[in-house]
Amino acid sequence: MKRLWAVFTKKRIAHELDDELRTHIDLLAADFQKQGMSPEEARLAARRGMGNLAGMKEEYRDARGSPKLEILLQNIRYAARVLRKNPAFTAVAVFALALGIGANTAVFSMTDVLLLRPLQMANLDRVVNVLATTPGQRPMTAISPGDFADLREQSRTLEHLSVWYDRGDDMTGGIEPQKVASIRVSREFFDALGAQPMMGRLFHAAPDYSGLPHVAVLSFRFWQTAFGGDPGVVGRTVRLSGEPYEIAGVMGKDFKYPPVAQIWIPLALTRDDRARYDAMFLTAVGTLRPGATVEQATAELSVIARGIAQRHPANHERRGAIVKLLNDNISGADVRPIMTMLTSAVGFVLLLAAVNVANLQLARVSLRTREIALRFAVGASRWRIVSQFLTESVVLSLIGAGAGVGLAFWATGMLRPMMPPELWKHIPGWERLGLNGNVLLFAMAVGMAAGILAGVVPALFASRTNLDEALREGGRGASGGARRHRVRNVFVAAQMVLAMVLLVGAVMTVKELRLGIEPAPNLDAAHALTMRVTLPQAKYPDDARRRVFAQQVLERASAIPGVQAVALVRDLPYTDYQDTESMVVAGQAFVRDTIEVEYQAVTPRYFEAMRLPIVAGRAFGEGDSEKGAPAAIVSESFAHRVFGNEDAIGRQIRVAPGETASPWLTIVGIAGNVRNRPGRIDFPNVVYRPMRQAPMSSFCLLLRASDPAGMSAAARAAIHSVDAALPVYEVMILEKVFRVKTSPMRLIASLMSSFGVLALLLSSVGVYSIMAHSVSERRREIGVRVAMGAERRQVVWMFLRHGLWLAGIGMALGLPAAYGLARVLEGLLLGVRASDVGMFALAILVITSSAALASWSAARRAAGIDPVATLREE
């Protein structure tokens, strides 16, 4: 600080020194005058007596001023000059660093919005979730009303403890009937989050457990989409599942908790509710009291939870509680490992870029021996040389960071639309993906770090330049040599190792993700339209009424001109509502393990409409009605897993054996495999039931047609002709359903593959530049060889051999490293094996051929060398 200050006070210091010197000269002159000189003579003599004032002042400034900062400024000016003078070197280095830093900045901007700041609310450092823990399992957010009542009453570390759950309602009343995510929230919910409405009021004044007002608060986005941002919306009445609610207010744009929320309404917990400890469906959120920490709150709530567990051992055995900051808990548990993977992969890319630039700089050191020697000769210290080279490296890297920020801006712009808006509610923060202050700071910091990383080795080598030798060599710089060459080769090999590891990692992840991307082959999802309805309990209280509704919708939809096949299905693949059940098989006396199955209810033409083949037995028919024998169709994977080589047709199974009403089912057919959840590699066990035997209250309509988009109005009308008040939602082409659901996987796959491509690109640039440098260093030798009659081919081969040799070493070292990574990934991924030889062969082939290509194009320059010209250079 003192030194920094000194820079700004440099003028004042100089001024003071001048004052001091003037006094001195005057006094000296006065002395001389006393000795008998004339005033003029005395003045001149006094000046002479002071010696070389300019030199002295320089020394004075060095001693007093701020040598460090000034040296830094000088270094930067010098670095700028050096970089300008070597545009090719500068361009390659900046290019490599910009790629590395840009990729890292883009990934960091994802981390920033997804993990660091998924929500944008005021008191995020105080808002917490209470999670229930069970030994051996992930903490869960679900607690029972009884838990909530006890925690709220007994906790001293948390205030405004509240709960919410997402019930989901049909909304009607002056708007298009639709399904809304209606969040029931207890009284202090908005206080816990410190939230204020943008418009109107909240309903926290309502008493907690009785006499609930029918009021609702809208989310900003829902207000925009469903009400067109109508400023007069407050005071309007809408119906939620038939009940009237008055709209009390609209929340601001940034209030997104829970992220799925479209509307918030009061939660009624009666005295009876509060005595229930068996239904865990509430999420608890509260605020730390002033002075309390997350650790203290966890400690306190664990004690309270232990008390609850003792009082209610039936459903709370070994259950505990922990407290987590809302901000840390909001992003799904699956986001963190993915971000860790992406961050490490992209870190490797940066490392590769840094090694690349280190190597370029190392090559430059040998070209600059004369310059370095001269600087030593005029008295520069080793430290000064080191600092000069480090400064150059950091300046390069910061320019790279600047370009990288541009790249990251472009990349985040590309990435943002890769996650469709339908998914935003699951990944809060994503829509804010882009550059911000945090991200820019990160880019700067990474730039500095990369600069230092890439500059340290070259700087040390530069500072070891042997003065005598360098000057004798005439700066041709073939010397200094062996060690530096070895290090350069090591660097090239290291780049190959990094590239190898990255490529194998990228290939594995991309393979894995591609495996799970389609539910099944040849579904022809582009020609299928889907929409969902949910029958309200009040209007459709029994199976008979649901059957009638389903039958009528099927008939009317089938009558739409152009429709090829129509079916109803409980859950389409890749939608949100998958459920698993346990199952037993008749004749197996002892059930070793209960088998988990995915349970589907479909109408007869489902397999035709979905293009799922029936591989054995038959599809459902009109005979599989409520009067027929209970029938089931199972998936191939089911048949194979449960019955092995035995015939599954005719066997009997029972789904949900715990329930007395569950009948024995006879297997009548086997359907082709289908994946119901995206990202699952193995096919699940699926049991299909005829919908007439297992009526559903919520299902999808599936229409196959050559122009599915043109069908949507007619299909809606068909449903509304049966029940005009029923919301029809999630109207989408099936292909889009799949695309939306798999977009995170595709995003990750494209990121990982671009890191692989970057790795390849950077390592090729590394090989090329090192070979090109080697060619120019050995010009004279090549000239002699050519003069002695060496052929072009031989010269090219000489360099090509060197490049291949380096690639070979890189592969030899990279293979075990990549195999190690593959073993780690094997544990994380389901569909790929580390023993996949083809994958390694591919990586080796790609890296070796790119190294060969790079060396060859550098070597061609060697072949073009004119021996006469090089010998004349002497």
Binding site: E16, L17, D19, E20, L21, R22, T23, H24, D26, L27, L28, A30, D31, G49, M50, G51, N52, L53, M56, E59, Y60, D62, A63, R64
Partner: protein, 112 residues
């Protein structure tokens, strides 16, 4: 070289400045320079300007302190005085110097 004026020995200037300040109390630059020349009875040739960088060095090491005052010709001048730390350093260095000088002269006498 028949004139026996010699340039200041490297490193000895600091010591001489400290010694001067210890003996005479606060002085300005000119006073210090003149005193050193007087004491050496003109045997020492001093570019008087060179004492200023030396003064800055000493100040930064904390061996001397400065304050602004008025010189005998009524000009603004900086006055230097030795600090406690400076006295200690001077004592140590003076011992060291004497020791080194004794060795050098013993060697020279022995060989001559």
């Amino acid at each position: 070289m028949n004139e026996r004026k010699t340039a200041v020995l490297l490193g000895s200037l600091d010591l001489m400045v400290l010694k001067t300040l210890e003996g005479l109390g606060p002085l300005h630059g000119y006073g210090i320079a003149r005193r050193i020349e007087q004491v050496s009875e003109g045997a020492l040739y001093l570019n008087q300007g060179t004492i200023y960088p030396a003064l800055v060095r000493l100040e930064q090491k904390g061996w001397i302190s400065t304050e602004w005052g008025i010189s005998e010709n009524n000009r603004r001048a900086r006055f230097y005085s030795i600090t406690q730390k400076g006295r200690k350093h001077l004592a140590e260095e003076a011992d060291h110097w004497a020791f080194a000088a004794a060795i050098v002269s013993r060697v020279l006498e022995g060989k001559a």
